[in-house]
Amino acid sequence: MRDKQIEDLKDYKYGFSTDIENFKAPKGLNEDVIKFISNIKKEPKWLLEWRLKAFERLKVLKEPDWQKPKYPKIDYQDLYYYSAPKSFKDKPKSLDELDPKLLETYQKLGIPLNEQKRLNGIAVDAVFDSVSVATTFKETLTKQGIIFCSISEAVQKHPELVKKYLGTVIPLTDHFFATLNSAVFTDGSFVYIPPGVRCPMELSTYFRINASDTGQFERTLIIADKGSYVSYLEGCTAPMRDENQLHAANVELIALDDAEIKYSTVQNWYPGDKDGKGGIYNFVTKRGLCKGKNSKISWTQVETGSAITWKYPSCILKGDNSIGEFYSIAITNNHQKADTGTKMIHLGKNTKSKIISKGISAGFSDMTYRGLVDISPKATNSNNFTQCDSLLMGNKCGAHTVPYIKNKNSDSNIAHEATTSKISEEQLHYCQQRGLNPEEAVGLIVNGFCKEVLQQLPMEFAVEAQKLVGISLEGSVG
């Protein structure tokens, strides 16, 4: 009975792929492919030029190699940079026109695209391979002046906003993968919250990589204008494939005076099989700019998937009194590798940041927390608190903590604490004495260990994340 259950759970729940005819750009990375993408999206000239500038820069940039997880060389000429379901060549006007197969896919993923399922009040934008397929709840949002659409649509309908903010947090020249994204990004979400508006519902994007040999390069841009608030959720899945797939997204957040952005991610890309074959390379650049005074950006992430995860959602605290937060749970099992953490750059006065990171490694996996806290001479009366805890399960895995701490301001405080340990035998015995099997006991204790972070997630996500935490560790106990 128990074995059967574990078997069921162990299999990657989202590992199906959908048979949909795809319309792809020719393989390879060159100016023509970039022009092709830009053309098919009917982009204005400035954006094409912007992409080409990124491509020029890319030619001289090297792939970074300082991060701990190493990966085999990626042949960038052997990837498709644009893939869209064929039925999208003329984008459907409404959900009814969507390919039923696509709807079915999203249903399998548990993402409510059609009307009946929208009851739970989350507005969803779904990105399938490279294009955004549907955005729900549009009318409700429009009434309040909120713009929530695919970035391609925003380029058409709100070019002034896109032009003003795109690339202002992650510059074109930032680093290899970010620049690659700027050159070839295909779609993603765009959010604009007008001054003083509190977004009445969670906004959510689901990403899914379906086609094989396809890189996914989505770009998300969120702007919270003065005094506004938005909570944004992002979920990711991908089918099981033997080969590795690349996901290099860029996410830019901008919070103006008194605005707040809460960004939550549950990342469950296909991690590869037990022997480390296949899986997603998740090389993502996420950065938020607290541009205005009293602004706040809060990142919450639950990273359980991907063969290699490599991301550092960061906050640039430019506005006085601004606040940056980073809550993270990262779990690696089998042969997964993760190098993740955050950067808190304090520039403004009275800026505060908080980092809570919980890392769990099992099997043959390797996990690194890498973080930077930098308080500049001008950031008077600022402070940071960091707590990094790691749990190890077994002695074939590794857990590493690499914080960089720079305090250049005598009126500012930085406090950093980190621990590494294993689940105590006593706690396990206690739970087992109360009837839980070892897997359940570990799931329970690990969820307890992660609680501070799970609490940050919106309800629907929290429940899903809690289950994920348990599932991700199946098979890792004695």
Binding site: W66, P377, N383, S390, L392, M393, G394, N395, K396, C397, G398, A399, H400, T401, V402, P403, Y404, I405, K406, N407, K408, N409, S410, D411, S412, N413, I414, A415, H416, E417, A418, T419, T420, S421, K422
Partner: protein
């Protein structure tokens, strides 16, 4: 610089009649150094302290040749009078005097030959530089079960007219089973703008105890680098204490390999910095077998434009179950231009371990100052009292009473 290096190296080889093996050893190290040069910020280890730049800014062009045949005057060097001790005096990298007058002669061997088994591992370019240019180095062996009656003080000094010079010294120590050594390094600089490069190797056999206290208190304009390479067998203990204060720049690097069960390493340090001084402590504690322990505590008090860096790493191999590793750094920034950087790092491959680190930095607690002032102290007194209290618990970690008192006096810390 390359020109100068080559000329100086040639000159050095000519001066001495090295055996073929010695010559080969020096040449290999020299080539390695030529290849890599002085470390710069591109190297992870030197991210916070770019030595190449620091030498350029504070010294300019360096020369590397030292005439080891010349007798240096040592009677001018001010010795520690509060404490009876054995001594070694090093001037411009040359060992001028070795004096174990308080000890049983047959319990200590001093080998001045270049030893056969030259260390093979390639540690870093500064060790290469040291091996290439240091004089014949000596090896001190403390025999089984022998505890030195008095501490050994090594005085590091420079000649008055030495300038823009790189000096290198190396001493190897072997503590046989159950032996015990208290070693104090004291820096007495008579000159300015030199780069002192010091390299110690320690082999700690079973149950031996090493206590090394490094005291850099006298104000000077030299740039210094010191590397302790400690290999520890079962039940051995190493205690390192660093008082980092007087030099323009000082980087102390400690590498401890805990390769015998129940061995333990303690690294404690104080940065007491003023002006534009820039100091660093970098530790690598490698837990390689079961049941080993390490403890590190570093505190900083930073005035004016000073900068302190603490990079402490705890490594635990997959065999090293039951490791106990702890590390803490606290810094008080007293001026708006001072800076504290830390990289407390954990790299852990075993699950049954207890490892943690903490780091905090910030200003002096105004509430405490206020409290003390409300009890009648003036600001200066209150500040002094709080700083003393802040530093006292590191000093209390010193296990040798005599030396603890000496350091308390040096820092003006009273209980």
């Amino acid at each position: 610089m390359e020109e100068q290096l080559k000329i100086d190296f040639e000159k050095k080889l000519k001066d001495f009649s090295y055996s073929d093996q010695e010559k080969k050893f020096k040449e290999t190290n020299f080539k390695e150094f030529l290849k890599n040069g002085f470390p710069n910020r591109k190297l992870e280890n030197w991210k916070f302290s770019d030595l190449n730049q620091i030498i350029k800014n504070n010294i300019g062009e360096l020369t590397f040749y030292n005439d080891y045949k010349k007798e240096n005057q040592i009677d001018k060097i001010e010795l520690i009078s509060e404490l009876e001790h054995n001594k070694i005096i090093i001037v411009d990298g040359k060992i001028e005097k070795i004096d174990f007058k308080f000890e049983d002669k047959d319990k200590i061997d001093v080998l001045v030959e270049q030893s056969e088994e030259t260390i093979k591992e390639n540690i870093n370019s500064l060790i290469n530089l040291n091996n290439a240019f240091s004089n014949k180095f000596c090896k001190i062996i403390i025999k089984k079960n022998y505890s030195l009656k008095k501490p050994l003080i090594i005085y590091h000094s420079t000649n008055k007219n030495t300038q823009s010079k790189n000096t290198n010294s190396r001493i190897d120590f072997k503590l046989e089973e159950n032996a015990c050594l208290r070693l104090i390094d004291i820096f007495k600089d008579n000159s300015e703008k030199n780069f002192l490069n010091i390299y110690y190797n320690f082999e700690l056999d079973k149950s031996s105890i090493l206590k090394n206290y490094k005291i850099d208190k006298a104000i000077n304009n030299n740039v210094k680098y010191s590397y302790n390479n400690v290999k520890q067998e079962a039940n051995s203990i190493s205690e390192t204490f660093i008082l980092s204060s007087g030099s323009k720049f000082f980087k102390n690097e400690i590498n401890c390999d805990l390769q015998g069960q129940h061995s333990s390493a303690f690294v404690n340090g104080i940065f007491d910095l003023d002006d534009e001084n820039h100091h660093e402590i970098k530790s690598n504690i490698n837990h390689l077998v079961e049941n080993t322990k390490s403890y590190q505590l570093v505190k900083s008090v930073l005035e004016k434009k000073s900068k302190a860096v603490y990079q402490g790493k705890i490594f635990v191999s997959s065999e090293a179950q039951k490791t106990d590793g702890y590390q803490l750094s606290n810094a008080i920034l007293l001026s708006e231009n001072s800076e504290f950087n830390a990289k407390p790092e954990l790299e852990i491959y075993a699950d049954d371990v207890k490892c943690s680190h903490g780091s905090s930095s910030g200003s002096l607690d105004e509430n405490s100052i206020f409290y003390l002032m409300s009890r009648g102290l003036n600001y200066k007194e209150a500040k002094k009292l709080l700083i003393n209290g802040f530093l006292l618990d590191v000093i209390e970690k010193i296990t040798d009473e005599e030396i603890k008192n000496l350091i308390k006096d040096l820092l003006g810390v009273k209980q």
